[in-house]
Structures are given as structure tokens and as C-alpha cells.
């Protein structure tokens, strides 16, 4: 309050007692009406409580990415140096050219896009439908099955690596697209997250829809899905990033670059013998891998925000 007093000055001084007494002088207090309802909003609090943490958090996330992008345009001796070089002196695409000489980016990019698109779509559809079943349907063994899914969530994927490999190899899936995609399709995380979200939806809306004669499918896709856009967008985003960045399974199941995904391909840029001259090339490769995910994120985050601000029931 004291901060508000020092800032407002003149007729805007609004101590509690004064406000009670000064009600008659309506016009003089018009500007402060809002403040008396929502409380004072001093600039210090706005900066230290709002903008500053936001800016710091953004910088922590953005600076390494920015440094990576800048680094990819530098020469090796500008990266490996004791004198800080912020801006590349001779910005060039040499590192990108070098990286693409070593890695067949178009092919790997195609593979990654295909695996991610198919894998993530199937995963999200499975998650939505199974979550709907767990949230709104009654069937025998429902809680047992749900518990089993939660247990699956707790098993680290490394544990299932070898059994998965044996199964897929036995089915002839080594170095095929379906071999890369199939074992990852079961999605305990998406099912769990969406079920929790669906259960928080107002049941009245769905009952109303049911009374209007809506079947399960139209209730799911016309009621539940639109009301849960933010949660679904979150699951989609996490799934897409997961699929895109997945490394160990595509590494194990692919044998050549006709089926290899980008993260596996990046290993071609890394030299196990420490090579100080390779950093710009590594950063260029990383930029190529990260860019598509960033674009997908920019696209999807609109839905996440829009969803949060939408009211479900009016």
C-alpha cells in the first residue's frame, strides 16, 4: 500500500479511511476505482513479480539455442577461444555444407517426418480413444487394466529394448518403417493424462448430449475433444517431440541410412576422438534437427493457450 501511495500522489491517494469519507467526490476518484477493487499494481511488482522472472526464464531457455545457432555460423577458432566471440566475424554456411556432406539430410529428414507423423498420429488417436473409454465407459476389469497401464508407465523403456528387438526382428521388421514405429505405439502417458483431463470435464454436458441422442463417437469428437483441446495439444506436442528425438530404438532397429532417423544420423557428425574443430558442424546438425520441432511447437502452442482461455460451460 505504501508503494501505491508514493506512486499515485495528488487526488489519487486512496487510504481506506479517506476512501470511505471521500465517496461523494465521485469524479475525482474515477481513475482509481479499478485500483480500489483489484488492489494496487505498482510497477515494481509488475517488473519483479512478472516480467523479470519471465525474461530470466526465457533467456535460460533461449540463450543456449541462440548460442547454438550463432555457433553454427562461426569458424572453429571462433568457438574454441578464450576471447568471447558473440557474433561470427565471417558468417558462413560452411558448417552446414560440411554437415550435409557427411549426412544424407533429405533422406533422414523424410524418414524422421514419416516416422513422427505416423507414430504420433496413431499414438494420439489411441490415447484419446482409450482415455475416453477409461473416463466414461463401464466395462469389466476397467480399474485393473488402468492400473496395468500405470505400471507400464513406470517401466523404463530400456528394459523392453531387447524383448522388443527380438519380437520385431522375428517378424522381419529390422530396418523397416513399421519396425521403427510399432513398438512405441502403446502410450501409457497419453492415456493417463487424457483420462485425468476427461474426468474433470462437466458430466452434465455429456449427459445432455446423450439425451439429445449423441452416440459415443459424436460425444467423443464433438464434445470431449473440443473441450480438451489444451490437454490433447499437450499430449500431441510431447508425443511429437518424443518421436522426433527418439534415439536408442531407431539406432538399434535400423541398419542403414535408407531408414535412419535424424537423431541417429547426427551421430555421423560426432567424432569419438575429441575433435575441437567439429563444434560448428555439430551445431549446424543440431539446428537442422531442432528447427522442425520448434515450428511444430509454435503452431501447437496457440492451441494450448487458446484452450486454456476457453470456457467449457457457460
Amino acid at each position: 500500500m505504501s508503494l501505491a501511495l508514493t506512486r499515485a500522489g495528488g487526488p489519487a491517494i486512496v487510504g481506506n479511511a479517506e476512501r470511505r469519507g471521500g465517496r461523494k467526490d465521485h469524479s475525482g476518484h474515477e481513475a482509481t476505482v479499478d485500483e480500489s477493487i483489484v488492489g494496487p499494481d505498482p510497477w515494481t511488482r509488475r517488473v519483479f513479480g512478472g516480467y523479470l522472472p519471465l525474461i530470466i526464464a526465457c533467456l535460460i531457455i533461449v540463450l543456449p539455442l541462440l548460442w547454438m545457432v550463432l555457433g553454427s555460423f562461426k569458424t572453429a577458432d571462433e568457438v574454441i577461444t578464450q576471447d568471447l566471440v558473440l557474433w561470427p566475424h565471417h558468417p558462413s554456411f560452411a558448417a552446414y555444407a560440411n554437415a550435409s556432406a557427411k549426412v544424407n539430410f533429405p533422406q533422414l529428414f523424410m524418414n524422421s517426418v514419416l516416422v513422427t507423423a505416423v507414430g504420433a498420429t496413431v499414438k494420439v488417436v489411441l490415447a484419446i480413444t482409450s482415455a475416453y473409454a477409461f473416463a466414461f465407459l463401464r466395462f469389466p476389469g476397467k480399474r485393473i487394466i488402468f492400473l496395468a497401464i500405470l505400471v507400464a508407465l513406470m517401466v523404463p523403456s530400456q528394459v523392453s529394448l531387447v524383448p522388443n528387438y527380438i519380437t520385431i526382428a522375428g517378424m522381419g521388421g529390422v530396418n523397416t518403417y513399421w519396425g521403427i514405429i510399432l513398438p512405441g505405439l502403446g502410450t501409457a502417458f497419453g492415456t493417463f493424462l487424457l483420462r485425468q483431463n476427461f474426468m474433470s470435464l462437466p458430466i452434465d454436458v455429456l449427459e445432455a448430449a446423450e439425451m439429445d441422442g449423441a452416440g459415443h463417437l459424436s460425444r467423443l469428437f464433438r464434445m470431449v475433444v473440443p473441450m480438451s483441446t489444451p490437454a490433447i495439444a499437450t499430449v500431441a506436442l510431447v508425443t511429437i517431440v518424443d518421436e522426433w528425438n527418439n534415439y536408442i530404438w531407431p539406432l538399434v532397429i535400423t541398419t542403414d541410412d535408407s531408414r535412419m532417423t535424424l537423431p541417429v544420423g547426427l551421430t555421423l557428425l560426432k567424432n569419438i576422438e575429441g575433435d575441437p574443430s567439429a563444434y560448428p558442424i555439430l551445431m549446424a546438425g543440431a539446428v537442422v534437427v531442432i528447427l522442425p520441432v520448434l515450428i511444430v511447437f509454435l503452431f501447437l502452442q496457440r492451441y494450448i493457450v487458446a484452450g486454456l482461455t476457453q470456457g467449457a460451460v457457460k
Partner: protein, 463 residues
């Protein structure tokens, strides 16, 4: 039928049950964790008829084989061009498979393939991994197959060939081989008034280091010397100092652990003092050659495989000098360990493929190809008859690395034959250098750990 969601909430009891299930899953995952020696355990003694391996009489080589590599030294392009030449000469197609970027990646992929088929016909074997494959009985001894493929090992550098010998058998052939090398910054040495050469002994360098530290105002270096990054390098490069003092991780050609012997403790005390007491040495976090190239340290030890990259990254800022690894008070040579990787042939693939793989090994490492491979990667030529003049003309510094091959010593078994020992060594050295732990006590603990690994994971496979 709409179902009231609130009734589906998980009761407390079922939640407890769930936790139990989760714990069960965790225990399960602990059992089936990355125990690298598990899958071959049933095979028993790996080397019953090891000496020459299976017979290859009357076998004709296959037309297509696969080769799993992690492309050490960014070697994909040069390996592919050697493969293309091999195809033209022999008609055999070799599919070069990227099996990851580290030797651990290759190991994981190879391990999975052991269980599910689809084995490679030729696989990269690093110095610390081949013995595990030998124990698991998943690679074949190469005596007979090399004979059938007419590959003669007598022209290979014997020190490098000996790295893959156990129980009178040859288990791999040297391919991308390196040694540590002493790197120094020539302008820093000049500014400190030091001779333009590597020190002959670590004792000599201890007298140089204060001068380098005194010259820091002009050189802007942080340390006179930087110990290589501990993870991955401590176990390897410290053998140099240990041997110089007459110690070692284990006795020569034996599993007798000696890391807590007097000479070993003295050697590691020298290392600890350089960091903790005299403070002229630092410890690299990931790569000491990065810091050397940046001018942050005046000297370091790293693989010869980094030489070309260091020169590129330094550009024209200063001259890089290289030299033999310094010796110690007890021994000045041989005090240089070898490193890098070779290639071996898995068990369980067709003999025709194994024979074709052996033919390719011979071609991959023939005198001409080992030189072009060396020129492209910085690894060392593995053949004695290789004509290295073109390498020397292109890069005089590599001559020092090649000459050092004459004074190498086969690595301590404790490091290369005990699964996971390298990490244990790195952990112990890190405790001494970065947490100030006592050398004597830490090495006693390390000895117990290493002996435990030997008893539980190695001894049962060797009887």
C-alpha cells in the same frame, strides 16, 4: 451409458497395490539392467577350441557382408571409398552400417542382435570391449579364417596386434589405432623460456610448470597443464604416469591388481599434487584439447586421433607442438599405452560370410589403405611396411605419433579386460583430483572393487 467419473477414483488400497506393482517393475528393471556379461553366461568356457577357430576348408566367400562401425575419427567417407575399391577388386559388397557414435552404442546394438539374430559379419571392437565379447563367446578366434583369407599378421605392428591376443588366439585385427600424445602450445613454451620439445620425464615437467605459470600474464593461460577429461581418459592416459613410476593398474599380462602398490600411489600422488597442492594443473571437463586449442592450458595429453582437429581449430593463432609421453623416475620407455579399436568377426554367422569378412579385413588394413585411412582420420598406420612419406609430407607432426608406436606398451588387463573397470578408475581418480580424497585409501577401495569385478564377472568365464 455414462459412468460417474468420481466413482472410478482409485481407492487407497488399490493405490497401495499399484505402488507394489511399480516396485515390482522397478525390481524387474534392476535385474535386467545393463549387465553386459549376462547373455553369454550360459556358454561357459569361451575358448575351448579357441586357438585357430573353426576350419574354413572348402568355404567360398559370400558375395555380400555387413560391417558395423561407429565411424571412429569421422571415418565414414574414407571407409566407404575403401569398400568401393574392395568391391571393384573382389566383387564382394560390404554394407557399412552406422551402429551408433560410441563404442557403447555399438555394444548395445551388438548385444541386442545377439538375442535376436541379424548379426553383422564384421564389427568394430574397441580396446575395452573385445574381451567382453570373447568372454560371451560371441566372436571367433581369427587364426584359421585369416589363413584361409590369406591375411598375414606378421607385417602388422606387433604391439598393436598383441592387444587382441588372449590364450594364444587372435581375436581382432588392429584398424583405427591411436596412442596418447603430448600436445603443447609452442608460443606459451617460448614465453616461459622453455625448450621447444616435450619434457623427457614428468619430473622435468614439474620444474617447467612454475615457469609456465609465471608467464601467464603474457600467455593468458589458466593452467600449465591440463589432465584429460577423467571419464573415458583417466584409466587410459594415467597408465603412462603409473608405468613411469614402475606401477600400474595391474601387473603386466596379469589380473593381479596393483593400483594401491607403492609406485602406483606415488605416481597418483604426483598427479594429485599437481592439481591440489602445486596448482599448476587443471582437470578438463570434457576435452582437454578444446582448452589447449583455446589457449587455456599450455600442455595436455590426448589421443593422436585429435591431432588434425586441434590443428584445424587452432588455425594460425599459435603453433602446436607434439612429443612422446614423458617417462617417470623408474621407466622412460615403454610408457605409452595404445588405444583405439580393431575389427573382429562375430560367431553365429555363415562361414561364407566370415571368410568374406576376413578377406575384407585384409583389404581394409593393407599398407596402402591403412595410410589413406590414417591421412583422413589421424589414426596411425597399422602396417610396418606402410609408406608413410605422404603422411609426413602433409603433416610433419604425425611423424612423432607414428614413431611413438615403437615404444608402446600393451595396456593393463585391469583396465581393458575387466568390464566397467575404466569407469571405476575414472571415479576414483575424480575423487582424488576434484574432491580431495586421499590417494592411498581411494586406491585400496578401487582395488577391492576391481577384484570384485574380476571374481564375479571375469573369472567364471576363464576356467
Amino acid at each position: 451409458m455414462l459412468h460417474d467419473a468420481s466413482r472410478a477414483a482409485i481407492s487407497r488400497r488399490s493405490l497401495l497395490g499399484l505402488i507394489g506393482l511399480g516396485a515390482g517393475a522397478a525390481a524387474l528393471s534392476a535385474c535386467s539392467g545393463p549387465s553386459t556379461s549376462a547373455s553369454g553366461a550360459g556358454a561357459g568356457s569361451a575358448s575351448a577350441d579357441a586357438v585357430g577357430g573353426p576350419s574354413f576348408d572348402g568355404v567360398t566367400p559370400a558375395k555380400t557382408i555387413s560391417f558395423w562401425s561407429n565411424h571412429p575419427g569421422s571415418s565414414q567417407a574414407i571407409t566407404q571409398s575403401i569398400i568401393d575399391k574392395f568391391k571393384a577388386e573382389s566383387g564382394i559388397t560390404v554394407n557399412l552400417v552406422t551402429a551408433g557414435s560410441t563404442y557403447e552404442d555399438v555394444a548395445q546394438k551388438f548385444q541386442s542382435a545377439q538375442a535376436g539374430g541379424q548379426l553383422p559379419d564384421l564389427v568394430v571392437l574397441s580396446d575395452v570391449w573385445w574381451f567382453r565379447y570373447f568372454m560371451q563367446d560371441s566372436i571367433i578366434p581369427l587364426g584359421n579364417v585369416l589363413k584361409a583369407a590369406k591375411v598375414d599378421l606378421s607385417d602388422y605392428r606387433q604391439g598393436l596386434v598383441a592387444d587382441y591376443q588372449y590364450k594364444d588366439s587372435q581375436w581382432a585385427v588392429p584398424w583405427a589405432r591411436s596412442t596418447p600424445l603430448f600436445y603443447y602450445n609452442k608460443s606459451h613454451f617460448k614465453a616461459a623460456g622453455l625448450p621447444d620439445r616435450a619434457p623427457a620425464t614428468w619430473g622435468e615437467f614439474a620444474t617447467w610448470a612454475p615457469k609456465l605459470m609465471a608467464a601467464r600474464s603474457t600467455t593468458k593461460a589458466k593452467y600449465a597443464y591440463e589432465h584429460p577429461a577423467l571419464a573415458g581418459y583417466a584409466g587410459w592416459t594415467l597408465q603412462n604416469i603409473l608405468w613411469g613410476y614402475g606401477g600400474g593398474w595391474s601387473k603386466k599380462d596379469s589380473f593381479d591388481i596393483t593400483c594401491d602398490s607403492d609406485p602406483s600411489v606415488k605416481a597418483l600422488s604426483y598427479v594429485a599434487d599437481s592439481v591440489n597442492k602445486e596448482k599448476w594443473a587443471g582437470v578438463a571437463s570434457t576435452s582437454s584439447t578444446d582448452d589447449l586449442a583455446a589457449g587455456a592450458c599450455s600442455a595436455t595429453i590426448e589421443s593422436t586421433g585429435s591431432l588434425v582437429g586441434v590443428q584445424k581449430a587452432v588455425g594460425s593463432r599459435f603453433d602446436v607442438g607434439v612429443g612422446f609421453l614423458p617417462g617417470g623416475p623408474v621407466s622412460t620407455k615403454p610408457v605409452c599405452p595404445t588405444g583405439g579399436c580393431g575389427v573382429g568377426i562375430p560367431k553365429g554367422v555363415d562361414k561364407a560370410n566370415q571368410l568374406a569378412a576376413a578377406k575384407f579385413i585384409g583389404f581394409l588394413t593393407n599398407p596402402e589403405n591403412t595410410v589413406s585411412f590414417s591421412a583422413a582420420t589421424g589414426y596411425l598406420p597399422v602396417r610396418t611396411s606402410a609408406d608413410t612419406s605422404s603422411l609426413l609430407a602433409k603433416n610433419p607432426l604425425i611423424g612423432t605419433a607414428i614413431k611413438q608406436l615403437d615404444v608402446t606398451r600393451t595396456q593393463d588387463w585391469a583396465r581393458v579386460f575387466l568390464p566397467g573397470a575404466d569407469q571405476e578408475m575414472a571415479k576414483s581418480v575424480a575423487a582424488i583430483l576434484t574432491q580431495g580424497a586421499g590417494v592411498d585409501a581411494t586406491m585400496k577401495t578401487l582395488r577391492t572393487t576391481l577384484e570384485g569385478i574380476y571374481t564375479s564377472q571375469v573369472k567364471p568365464h576363464l576356467s
